[in-house]
């Protein structure tokens, strides 16, 4: 880590299209900082896949790397194909909550079940940002959105909890105010043998914040900070006390045979015959 960190080492000279104050900037910068601290002088050892949505634009086309930007919700199976054929690469998926646990949810669960050795970074801004603020599977109960103008009549999904139980080897959730913890989690995720899932609670001041009454991104970050509780603290709270709280921390950190290991073991076996 002798050289100083510079975003320009890893980014093309293209201005990201995110709104001012968007959490996607934080996720992008924090991820690249983690990459730098892991000793990668460039992104040669990586391949990035993403679907459709503002958050899916984090790697593509901005990272100086191989990036595949695909259809809405389908980044995880594309990443699975890349990883199975190139087990030597760190394959990382970025996507929004709509992309990853809305339209693409089944792929996420199956990727965790298969324990495919990729990292999925879900930027959870609790809304469909790119399309202008429609309700997402992660939108809090009763919050108004453009397609639930009288308030959301559905409950929000706890994606990290779901993916922990689906068999992921590493699951962590942070908000965009937990930058150093998030950075460490990125490193752990990339180094995890098996499926890693990171949920980043992020601010979309444009399609979410403004509409539910936050003045700007700063107010949203205050809200994240005030309502975050660690996993350890959460264990001592009742379900009622946990209402409207954001539980942050590492939920799963374990080892299990990964998909590339089991698939290549089968190939070896079959070729003996």
């Amino acid at each position: 880590m002798s050289e100083e960190f510079s975003l320009r080492t890893y980014l093309r000279d293209i201005q990201p299209p995110f709104c001012a104050g968007c959490g996607a900037f934080t996720v992008m910068n924090t991820f690249l900082r983690a990459v730098h601290e892991m000793g990668h002088k460039d992104l040669r050892g990586f391949a990035f896949c993403s679907g459709i949505g503002c958050s899916s634009w984090i790697p593509s086309p901005h990272f100086k790397a191989d990036t595949i930007h695909v259809t809405h919700g389908r980044s995880i199976p594309v990443a699975t194909g890349v990883k199975l054929m190139r087990p030597d690469l760190n394959v990382v998926v970025f996507g929004g909550d709509g992309d990853i646990v809305g339209i693409g949810l089944s792929h996420l669960i199956h990727a965790a079940r298969r324990n495919v050795d990729i990292t999925v970074v879900m930027v959870n801004n609790m809304i469909y940002g790119m399309t202008g603020g429609q309700v997402a599977p992660t939108t809090p109960f009763k919050l108004p959105t453009t397609t639930t103008p009288y308030g959301n009549f559905e409950r929000a999904l706890d994606a990290s909890k779901l993916i922990a139980s689906a068999g992921a080897c590493y699951v962590a959730r942070w908000t965009t105010t937990h930058v150093s913890q998030l950075k460490e989690s990125f490193k752990t995720a990339v180094n995890t043998k098996g499926f890693a899932f990171i949920e980043v609670i992020s601010q979309c001041p444009t399609a979410f914040g403004r509409r539910v009454g936050f003045k700007d991104a700063g107010e949203m970050l205050q809200w994240f900070k005030a309502n975050s509780v660690t996993v350890e603290e959460a264990n001592k709270l009742t379900e009622e006390e946990l209402q409207n709280k954001i539980v942050v921390g590492e939920f799963v950190k374990k080892e299990a045979p990964s998909l590339t290991e089991t698939v290549y073991a089968v190939l070896k076996e079959a070729q003996k015959k």
Partner: protein, 377 residues
Amino acid sequence: MLNPGIKFMQGSQALAEAAITAGLRFFAGYPITPASEIAEHLAKELPKVGGIAIQMEDEIASIATIIGASWTGAKVMTATSGPGFSLMQENIGLAFMTETPLVIADMQRAGPSTGQATKCGQGDVMQARWGTHGDYASITLSPNSVQEMFDLTIRAFNLAEKYRTPVILLGDEIIAHMRESIIIPPKNSIEIVNRKKPRPGETMFFGGEEIPPMPSIGEGFNVTVTGSTHDEYGIRITADPVGHRKLVKRLVGKILNNADEIVEVEAYNTENCKIGVVSFGCTSRAVYEAVERANEKGVKTGFIRLKTLWPFPEKQVKVLAQTAKTILVPEMNLRQIFFEVTRVAEGAAKVVPLNKIGGGEMITPEEILAVLLKEGA
């Protein structure tokens, strides 16, 4: 992998073996009748040559996964039938837009929807042409024997690699399940095409020439692949009209401009017939007999059998329309290729449909012969 020689095998097996011969190294699919045998055969045989066969959670994931695998440089395939083919359509567009070589084997059954799952149909012809949204051009091949399941599968891979595009192998339940003797040619006599790769330092992978070179992921090219409209370098252009036109016209053009090379038909007596038959797939097997019997009865009959459905063999059908007074189009759907023949014939010949669906009942030689004799009278 099969040794050369005469073998007796099922259509699905021939397809799977040909795929391995063509260089298939990654297969992903989801079970569906009548295509499951392809996945089952590959699950057994592909690992023996170091390839991966994996069952995904659905057909959307299947095609998405092979798109990812293709970008690592591997030859890839998925296999399905109507319902799964419907689910794949969005990502067929993605493969077209990103110029990703892959083969989709669609073994047709009777639709729409679940229809008659175990019964043959030929109703996916137009879906193979226009299934995804937007403007695009499809390469679709139509085998009519177990031998052709082998030969056209090899060709499907070669075309996918040469034109950097998805290729649809449109079989049907009858050809997939049928068993026949076939000749497996010696390996060194089979032409195998591999995608053009960039030289070190090249940066234009999505333009600059009709079929640009394709780098693989992990080779240091920093390739930006996107299903959004993009420039020659793969950088998104979300609003520029000129860039969009240029890209989509090149993608459509690289197939339609090369139709002469892509199109293959089997033609018989087309210069000297009063009646012509245009058919494809399982139905064409009944046509052989009907045409022979019509000629025996003095009705000068010829046929064109479409080995390539898309791009549509316009030149060949046009010539037939100039010679023949009538063109009969038998197909196991409620008229699909009929409209193409009508379009191409431009009134030069009378085009007569003969359609039958349901229960997997084939159009019989007698049914075809009856129309030939009536029209030839």
